[in-house]
């Protein structure tokens, strides 16, 4: 039994930590977030140089051959720095789907471009009516000859505004919410019939609604077998949830740290407010929640490493726990900062908004707890 990151993982983590500390001051991050693309091309090139963009990919494509623990080590540090560049959307979601797809031609073509930083990809899986049920797919792909004709609209596509290509979930058969009959297609977003509506989320990231009108996509761009895309989607959801939880852990730790530091300098009633027992106990509670969230993340990482069939259950529990711990830690951070917690000038609110955004991705706490319950019932 051990809960330590490997030497390699520590090196990865340290490299992100150094970048965040030396080049990602809060004000720098703010100006990147407010820029037109909401990301820095220079930073992205540097991520490529540092090897971060290669982490989840096979060595044969120039990848690092990393797993979910490597990703978690990196994501936690990105959380601490509130890194806004689309590492999660591009490398983990889009890249992860490609990596798992079994389509060697696509992998050979696109993975090297992700690794060298020249390609921006996205994963378009949310629809207006679907909420968190990713199998609820109205977007259709009809086979015509060697091509599919794609019609429908995807919403809240992370990195959708900057993306050159996207993996899109589309129905090739079955009813609206059937897991069977969903196919994943890699679509060039400069194709005829693609239109985007770009907008920002509260965490500063630029996302898009993407409409597909009679877009022709080669059948060679299918990830996995036709109609069998849901298996890949599910894997992306579970692994993505773990990555997000690691990012959230970094944010939660940072919020606790910022709040504690603030109470040690803020003076009221003739003393620093850190001397008040009522605040101390609340900060102890947020400390405990942080530790429990970390334990839950480790639990999911270990069940992945041990090859447990409990992995999915652990991920659902992790995401549910994240919702509760994150809410407490975020709320307390703002409350204990008092009026300053309300200001855009302080970083604390920005961390909270990212935490809230993460909470909604792949389902909130209630949704994941419901999934947890259903899994138990289907196992019984």
């Amino acid at each position: 039994m051990n809960f330590d990151y490997s030497e390699e993982q520590v090196m990865l983590r340290d490299s992100v930590q150094r970048f965040v500390q030396s080049q990602y001051e809060f004000e720098t991050r703010r100006s990147i977030a407010e820029s037109e693309t909401a990301m820095s091309a220079e930073n992205w090139a540097q991520f490529a140089e540092l090897g971060w963009l290669s982490i989840p990919f096979d060595e044969q494509y120039g990848g690092f051959g990393g797993d979910i623990q490597d990703i978690a080590a990196v994501m936690e540090e990105m959380g601490k720095g509130l890194v806004i560049e689309p590492f999660f959307a591009n490398v983990i979601l889009f890249g992860g789907l490609l990596q798992n797809s079994g389509n060697d031609a696509l992998k050979e073509k696109y993975i090297p471009q992700i690794i060298d930083g020249s390609l921006q990809g996205a994963y378009a899986f949310v629809e207006r009516q679907s909420r968190y049920q990713s199998a609820d797919v109205l977007t259709s792909a009809n086979k015509q000859g060697d091509n599919y004709v794609l019609n429908g609209t995807k919403t809240v596509v992370f990195n959708g505004a900057n993306a050159d290509v996207a993996v899109v979930s589309a129905r090739t058969s079955g009813g609206q919410s059937d897991e069977d009959g969903i196919s994943l297609l890699l679509v060039d977003l400069s194709s005829d019939g693609v239109s985007r509506q770009n907008y920002r989320l509260m965490d500063g990231q630029l996302v898009a609604n993407i409409e597909f009108k009679d877009v022709s996509v080669s059948a060679d761009n299918l990830l996995g077998a036709e109609g069998q895309g849901y298996v890949l989607m599910k894997a992306a959801e579970l692994q993505g949830s773990v990555a997000l939880a690691a990012e959230a852990l970094g944010i939660a730790g940072k919020l606790n740290e910022l709040t504690l530091d603030y109470t040690k300098t803020r003076e009221q009633f003739g003393t620093t407010i850190s001397t008040f027992q009522v605040l101390q106990h609340r900060m102890v509670d947020t400390f405990m929640e942080y530790e429990l969230l970390k334990s839950m993340l480790f639990r999911a990482l270990c069940s992945w490493a041990d090859g447990d069939d409990e992995f999915e259950l652990d991920v659902r529990a992790l995401k549910a726990k994240l919702a509760r711990s994150g809410k407490l830690i975020g709320d307390e951070a703002i409350q204990i900062h008092g009026g300053m917690g309300m200001t855009d000038e302080m970083s604390v609110g920005h961390y909270v908004k990212r935490l809230m955004t993460i909470n909604a991705i792949f389902g909130d706490g209630d949704y994941n707890q419901q999934q947890f319950v259903q899994l138990q019932d289907s196992a019984a």
Binding site: M1, D4, L260, Q280, V284, S295, A305, A317, A320, K321
Partner: protein, 388 residues
């Protein structure tokens, strides 16, 4: 990062399972569950463990410990709890024993340790006083030197199982002049000594486990003092620092939660089981998820102990969250019992578990009070982690 057990650990786990299956008979389990026969059944089981050499996993091998790795101790504790077996009574084996082998002299080790291991002596703990609860250093029970004896006067309170005990270990005041913590001594007192009176405290669980112990001119030989006079606080604190990893009682809670699930699957309300009731199920799932997080927190502490590190404020976290979860599970069981949650003592009315659920729930309120209340534990974390 992984939690897979080694081949040796898996073999050990099987050995423990086989041992429990053979030795913890249903007949013994039934007697242990009955308050009237609890003490004898508990001692019988502890003697079985003693004969096996498994009675004191937390002791060094030279004093009769098992020499297990922390992982083995964890496995044993987990298997024990999953089999529904109570932990050993802690006062001798987990509390005074370590103080004696760490700070006692050779004569004391020889005299007291064997009967603690064999469970021939039943111990209780004399720390709290009517005026010294969370603020333990306020204790007033006096011990005045008179020749080769101390003469002890005062009162201890919340003394669990004093009515069964042969011996009590006490913190007493031997000096009131200096700092409060520095005038305290650690005495071992024979409960049969004249001048000791045990008064039962009737508690909200309608059961008798707590007592007040009154000392009136009780003569205690100086030979029964651990270490130096006035240094008792140091010994008591060292004991707290060695607090066992299993303080969170995760294994017990897992077992209890599994039972609660089973009961919820049997209990029907309006044609559907409580288990399929969305509101109930959601509370159950929430508690289970908290327990899953706590379990891995305990494992993280275990892993650091395995590396030879002393657990710090994590012990307080385990205590706070552990007791909160125990109480949440007790509450779920009460809820399942419905009308019968109030049944007193009879298990042939309504549910057979109604009375036990009530007793566990009411007694369970004490868990966040004893052993340093959860508020005091928060102060400990505030000092150690927040450094405020």
């Amino acid at each position: 990062m992984n939690t897979a057990f080694s081949e040796e650990d898996l073999a050990f786990q099987q050995e423990v399972q086989a041992f429990i299956k053979q030795k913890y008979t249903p007949e013994l389990a039934a007697r242990a569950a009955n308050p009237k026969t609890f003490k004898d059944a508990q001692i019988e089981w502890q003697k079985i463990l003693f004969e096996q050499g498994w009675i004191a996993p937390n002791w060094p091998a030279e004093y009769g410990g098992t020499g297990w790795t922390p992982t083995q101790s964890y496995i044993f504790d987990n298997e024990r709890a999953m089999a529904g077996i109570s932990d050993v009574v802690p006062f001798g084996l987990k509390m005074v024993g370590p103080v004696i082998y760490t700070f006692g002299n050779d004569e004391q080790k020889e005299r007291f340790l064997p009967a603690i291991l064999s469970s021939d002596d039943w111990w209780c703990q004399g720390y709290s006083e009517p005026g010294a609860g969370s603020d333990l250093a306020a204790l007033q029970t006096k011990a005045v030197l008179d020749g080769d004896d101390y003469i002890v006067n005062g009162a201890k309170i919340w003394t669990t199982y004093a009515q069964h005990a042969d011996w009590i270990f006490c913190l007493v005041r031997t000096d009131s002049s200096g700092k409060r913590q520095s005038g305290i001594s650690f005495l071992l007192i024979d409960m049969k000594t004249p001048g000791i009176e045990v008064r039962p405290i009737h508690t909200i669980d309608n059961y008798h486990s707590l007592n007040e112990v009154i000392f009136k001119d009780v003569r205690v030989p100086v030979a029964n003092r651990i270490g130096e006079q006035d240094a008792g606080w140091t010994y008591a604190k060292a004991l707290l620092a060695h607090e066992r990893v299993s303080i969170a009682e995760v294994a017990n809670s897992k077992r209890n939660l599994a039972e609660v699930k089973k009961l919820a699957q049997q209990e029907v309300n309006g044609g559907q089981t409580l288990y399929s009731d969305t509101a109930f199920r959601s509370r159950l799932a929430e508690t289970e998820i908290e327990l899953m997080a706590l379990e891995y927190t305990e494992l993280r502490v275990l892993a650091s102990v395995s590396r030879g590190e002393t657990p710090g404020p994590e012990s307080s976290l385990l205590k706070i969250k552990g007791t909160e979860i125990q109480q949440a599970i007790q509450e779920l069981r009460m809820q399942i019992a419905g009308y019968y949650c109030g049944v007193l003592g009879q298990d042939d009315i309504g549910h057979e578990f109604g009375s036990a659920a009530r007793q566990a729930y009411m007694y369970g309120r004490a868990a966040s009070i004893y052993g340093g209340s959860n508020e005091v534990q928060r102060n400990v974390i505030a000092r150690a982690v927040l450094r405020v």
